[in-house]
């Protein structure tokens, strides 16, 4: 039988893959995709907890997380496009205008 721990471990692994992508990759688009992976992992954990407690309010919380994720993706991708227009690259190591 699939228990709560299965979902927790799966969400943990997905979140870990997302953290790995954010930390190790230098492409801004891959970083945004990895952030989406982390948000999906959090949603999975929230919904697993909601089913465990028999609480439908967790579903509303998951919907709000998805709303914020969609807004974040829209603004983040617009920022990446604006940076690409200025620097002709999406490598985050190249964005160092503020470095003294």
């Amino acid at each position: 039988m699939i228990s709560y721990d299965h979902y927790l471990v799966l969400a943990l692994a997905l979140f870990f893959i997302g953290v790995t992508g954010v930390v190790l990759r230098r492409n801004a688009l891959i970083i945004l995709m990895s952030i989406e992976l982390m948000l999906n992992a959090v949603n999975l954990a929230v919904l697993a907890a909601a089913r465990n407690m028999g609480d439908m309010y967790g579903h509303g919380l998951a919907l709000f997380i998805m709303t914020v994720a969609a807004a974040e993706a829209a603004v983040g991708l617009a920022l990446v496009l604006a940076m690409f227009r200025h620097r002709r690259t999406v490598n985050v190591d190249e964005f160092r205008n503020l470095k003294g």
Partner: protein, 188 residues
């Protein structure tokens, strides 16, 4: 005991789909392949939502992520790059710091996940959840619901302003070339 076995198989199928796609997203050298692997990850997670008897959230996951966010990502990938070049992104040179961050994150979250005494109820509610979510959104969640709508509007305007380019910015803020004739016309 046929039904638990079948449900376990469905769970593992979706879990393996989501995990394999996520690994592909995070480690693929080709950014177009990574963007399409994100599709598999979203579908796997949506299947897991359905498996968690969260039907409404699962359908919304497919509509919002696959229909919206993934299309946005594909547009960004197509617009930003020399996509014929598969060597789009390289691992960082700061690998030791990244490894430390990853291990600390994994250890901390793993510790929290396995040492917290989670409340586990034996009965699992099944059935449609849409009406209950609607009651929640228009009942105790009414203020976050409205704030989320304002947030979406702000994000939409911000995205248009940031990605709209020079023409959109000059139309929204106005520049001297547009201002001067309008002022002279108003004075005369």
């Amino acid at each position: 005991m046929k039904v638990p076995l079948l449900s376990a198989m469905v769970f593992w199928a979706f879990a393996i789909l989501a995990m394999a796609s996520a690994v592909f997203v995070a480690f693929s050298r080709n950014i177009v392949h990574a963007a399409f692997a994100l599709l598999g990850c979203f579908f796997g997670v949506a299947g897991l939502y359905l498996f968690l008897s969260a039907d409404f959230v699962g359908i919304i996951q497919v509509m919002v992520y696959v229909g919206g966010v993934l299309i946005l990502f594909l547009f960004a990938v197509m617009l930003t790059g020399k996509i014929r070049n598969p060597e789009k992104s390289n691992p960082s040179r700061a690998i030791p710091g990244g490894l430390v961050t990853m291990l600390v994150t994994l250890g901390l979250f793993g510790y929290l996940a396995f040492t917290t005494p989670w409340q586990v109820l034996p009965t699992v509610p099944t059935g449609p959840t849409t009406s209950q979510i609607g009651d929640a959104l228009l009942g105790p969640y009414i203020l976050p619901f409205e704030v989320a709508s304002v947030l979406l509007l702000a994000a939409l305007l911000g995205g248009v302003l940031l990605a709209g380019g020079v023409r959109g910015r000059s139309r929204l803020t106005g520049n001297e070339q547009d201002e001067a004739p309008r002022d002279s016309g108003g004075n005369t």
